[in-house]
Amino acid sequence: MTASLLYALAGAVLFGMGLYGLLRLPHLLRKLLAFNIMGSGVFLVMVGLPQHRGGADPIPQALVLTGIVVAIAATALAVVLMRRYYHLSGMTTLEEPSPEQRPGGRR
Amino acid sequence: MPPEALAAVVAVCLPLLYPAMALLPSTRARVMRFALPLLPLPALLLAVFSDPGWQLDMPWLLNGGLWAMDELRRLFLLLTAVLWAVAGLYAVGYLKADHLRRFCVCWGLTLAGNIGLTLAVDIASFYSFFALMTFAGYGLIVHEGSGEALRAGRVYLVMAVFGEMAILAGLLLASAAADSQMLADLPAAIAAAPQKNLVIGLLVAGFGVKAGLPLLHFWLPLAHPVAPTPASAVLSGAMIKAGLLGWLVTLPFGEAALPGWGALMVVAGAVAALGAALLGVCQRRPKTVLAYSSISQMGLMVLMVGGALADPGRAAVLFPVIALYTLHHGLAKGSLFLSAGVSMPTAAGARAVTWLLIALPGLSLAGLPFTSGALAKLAMKEGLSADKLDFALSGYLSPLMTAGAVATLLLVLRYLWTLARTQKTGRNPPALAAGWLAATGMSLVAFWWMPWQVDGLVKAPVWLPKMYQLWALLWPMLVAFILAAGALLVSRSVKKR
């Protein structure tokens, strides 16, 4: 097992954990965090796996930088939306409000 | 276009287009009735004055139209025109105000059909006019609108439609076999066709509905009594003959010997002639009796048709006889039917004359000497005489004809009897009386100047039949009188008890 493969495997594990979190955790902020963990996993694979004539490949490094920027932008957008969402509905999950929870519902 | 052809077009189109008058407002449409006797006049002129042999070619009509006239058609046309004319005259006086337009429309169309089918030589226009006559005739039958009339109309229509379909199928098969659209080509083609019997069967049955062949006759005794009297006259005098004409122009006469079909027709004719008489004498209404009389008379003509089918050599001789008989019967029967609606005058002398005039055409039917009936009967006897006819059943024909004569007179007597019981007394509308008198005159007098030709058989005119002929004509009548008198006595005694 080479070091690069180790990085890649670690990245894959992170990806898996993030995926689990993204799908299973109800709270929005947790989902967002899980997304970031996934992203990190992918970046790890990206820099870890490619080997350029024995040494590290410079291109993935550049790509990952771009990727991080994109991820930050996405995270920022998500946070804005979540805040607004919480503000409007008072909820932190994406479940559809059932009739009794809705204002003007049964009670 | 020769003048005859033009006249033919006028003869057909006048009654055909006459119904358009019905589109006039109802007040003015009343004049329609006065046109009724005029409608057949062009046809009458055509029949009287034109020499057979002309033809009118209309390639654009249907599948190629051809109208023409020959001796046979001339007599049929003459009968048709005369009868419709006198009946039309009668109708002017007979008709009441209600449904007048409808009656006139149906009258015109039926007449157009009847004239047209007599002139048509191509299949399509023949069949067209035949169908026109059939369907428009329904309107005449149900005119009165009573429940009985509607029932009769229904029976008539059902049977007529079946008849039409049989004719259609028969004509289709024949036309395909002949590969021709002309009636004249059919007989030879039918005689040679593989499905000969099917075709003949279809045509016999199809036209048989009109001609009142036994088992196909049911509509006749129902329809004739309920129709208005002038309609019954033409129905029985002219339209019924259309079926006969249909046979004459399509069946393979003179092409091949068809003893089977001949025998069948003879049996059918015999059944009709005698059976109808048996049923007819039991009837109570005068026009029903006359209807059965028509069936019976048609039976006699069917005998001749059977003979002609069986012996190809004899067909040419029998055709003029059939035509003659048709003419005679049509005129006499028309006159009889019209008399059913005549009211008796009160004065005794006039009464006697009226009765005489009513009775004479009837006796003519039975073959009273010096009448058209005598001529027709003698010609028929001569035509079907056993020694000249090559046919297994020819021996039975003579007795059959004699029995038929007896039956005929019995029916006439029954008619007079029932008529005497139902007839009203009073004044007749002048047109009605004129129509009836004209019909009687036609039957008794004008007949002798009509262009029938049976020169080969009997010497005509038969002013003085030979003694044996006289006897042959008279003894069946005597038998009938005796039978009638017997029946009268029996019924009296039954009633007394």
Binding site: - | G153, V161, A177
Partner: protein
């Protein structure tokens, strides 16, 4: 010649443009709309007449361009297409006149006439289509543009009928599409050609060709209302009378029948079809449909439903005719394309007249209507006798020609079918005629309206009479050149000796 390219396109465009203009006109623009309608109909009739004359002289009208890879959009005028085009052009004019009167004062006229013109454009396209692909294009366009007309009344019943109509026709269209695509895969893009394409076909193809034929007939049979695909037709009778008249007597059902004619004649070829053995079963199916439709009609109490079942029966005559292997029978089938159209439209006009003038919809309300409306009843009588096949009307010419053709082809059983069908037709039409003429009218009609001098509105009166007279003339003058029969014989002549 430029004209030869532009004439078919123009003929198509007149009604298409009319549709666009009518949609754009305001609902209140009654006069202008009527003028546009009638003007377009007249122009189209003129164009068609010019084309008929040209086709008769042997001019080729056509235009084509590649539409998608492998398939072309082809418009072509041959004798057969002119037959259908002529029928729809003439009847469009009459029906437009009729519809203007029929829909007087009713809502949604703009919508109605717009889609109406679209329908006619589709019919024209179907007539002029030069290959199956183009045919299909207009065939589906017809389906779509008819739907708004069927549901025009907007009642629950109408909408239900519309749904049934769509289910049938769209499914039929899908089947047809499959068949056309399959055929394209097997043999490429086939233009309609006299004599067909498969005269010397490869035995290896037989199975697929038979399969394709079955699918084609199934797809087209829906519109042609062949048993058991006829269920939509009686229901669609909730549409206004002009719709039933033009669309269900002429455009829609004829489109199906016309398609089958195209398939048999111009794709497969009669020879090939009979080698494949597909014509005989089709003939039996058509014969069964003829009888089935008539038998069902016997039990109807609603006049338009009765006419619908009668249509089911009559359209199959066309199919039966082309299945008779021989020129005479084929001419009989083809001529019925015109005859049935003209007769059935007469009957539907009459049904509309009764409904609009007296409020009569059911048979038992028709007692004595002949007294109140003699001209309409005359037209009805003519139409009914034509349907029965009574001479000398158009229907008789059909039956006679078909019967002769059947005997030529040795298919004698067809005679029995013809006779039986005539009997059944008589059995349901004659009682109606009896009611019309020989029963006494009721004291009060269900819903009577009066129009001055004529028995009904002049817009309704004249088209009805004209079609009735044409029904008579088509029969009486059958042997004239340019009569339906002569034209059908011309088509057959070109098909059998390409």
């Amino acid at each position: 010649m430029m004209l030869s390219v532009w004439l078919p396109v123009l003929a198509l465009m007149t009604s298409l443009l009319a549709a666009v203009v009518i949609f754009a006109l305001p609902e209140q623009g009654y006069r202008l709309r009527t003028a546009v309608n009638l003007g377009a109909a007249l122009v189209k009739l003129g164009l068609v007449v010019v084309m008929v004359w040209g086709v008769f002289r042997g001019v080729d009208y056509g235009v084509s361009f590649t539409m998608a890879p492998g398939v072309a959009f082809v418009l072509k005028a041959d004798a057969l297409s002119m037959m259908f085009a002529g029928l729809s052009a003439v009847l469009w004019l009459l029906t437009t006149v009729y519809a203007v009167g029929y829909l007087e004062d009713s809502p949604n006229r703009s919508r109605f006439f717009g889609f109406f013109s679209l329908c006619v454009a589709s019919t024209m396209g179907i007539a002029l289509a030069g290959n199956l692909f183009t045919f299909f294009l207009f065939y589906e366009m017809l389906t779509l543009s008819t739907y708004p007309l069927v549901v025009h009344r907007g009642t629950e019943q109408a909408l239900k009928a519309g749904r049934t109509y769509l289910i049938y026709t769209l499914t039929g269209g899908a089947v047809l599409l499959l068949a056309i695509a399959w055929l394209q895969g097997v043999a490429g893009d086939l233009p309609f050609r006299e004599g067909g394409h498969f005269t010397e076909n490869d035995p290896a193809l037989h199975t697929s060709l038979i399969g394709i034929f079955v699918l084609l007939v199934a797809g087209l049979g829906v519109k042609a209302a062949v048993f058991p695909l006829h269920g939509w037709l009686p229901q669609a009778m909730v549409a206004p009378a002009p719709v039933s008249a033009l669309l269900h007597a002429v455009a829609v059902v004829k489109a199906g029948a016309f398609g089958i004619v195209r398939v048999v004649y111009n794709i497969y070829g009669v020879e090939a079809s009979s080698v494949l053995g597909v014509l005989e079963p089709l003939a039996w199916l058509a014969a069964f449909t003829i009888l089935y439709g008539s038998v069902r009609a016997l039990w109807q109490v609603d006049l338009k439903r009765l006419l619908a079942f009668s249509t089911v029966s009559q359209v199959s005559y066309i199919i039966l005719g082309i299945c008779l292997f021989g020129p005479v029978g084929a001419a009989g089938g083809l001529v019925h394309l015109l005859h049935q159209g003209i007769m059935k439209i007469t009957l539907f006009f009459c049904a509309g007249n009764y409904a609009e003038t007296l409020g009569i919809h059911r048979l038992d309300e028709m007692d004595g209507a002949g007294r109140r409306m003699p001209a309409t009843s005359f037209a009805f009588t003519v139409g009914a006798f034509g349907m029965i096949g009574a001479p000398p009307l158009a229907g008789f010419i059909t039956k006679w020609t078909m019967g002769t053709g059947a005997l030529d082809a040795g298919m004698d059983w067809v005679i029995a079918v013809l006779v039986l069908s005539s009997l059944l037709n008589a059995a349901y039409f004659l009682p109606i005629l009896h009611r019309l003429w020989f029963r006494d009218p009721p004291r009060q009609w269900p819903h009577e309206r009066r129009w001055g001098r004529l028995e009904t509105s002049a817009w309704l009166y004249w088209p009805t009479l004209v079609t009735a007279v044409v029904t008579i003339l088509a029969g009486v003058l059958a042997s004239l050149p340019f009569s339906p029969l002569s034209w059908a014989e011309l088509i057959v002549l070109r098909e059998y000796s390409p």
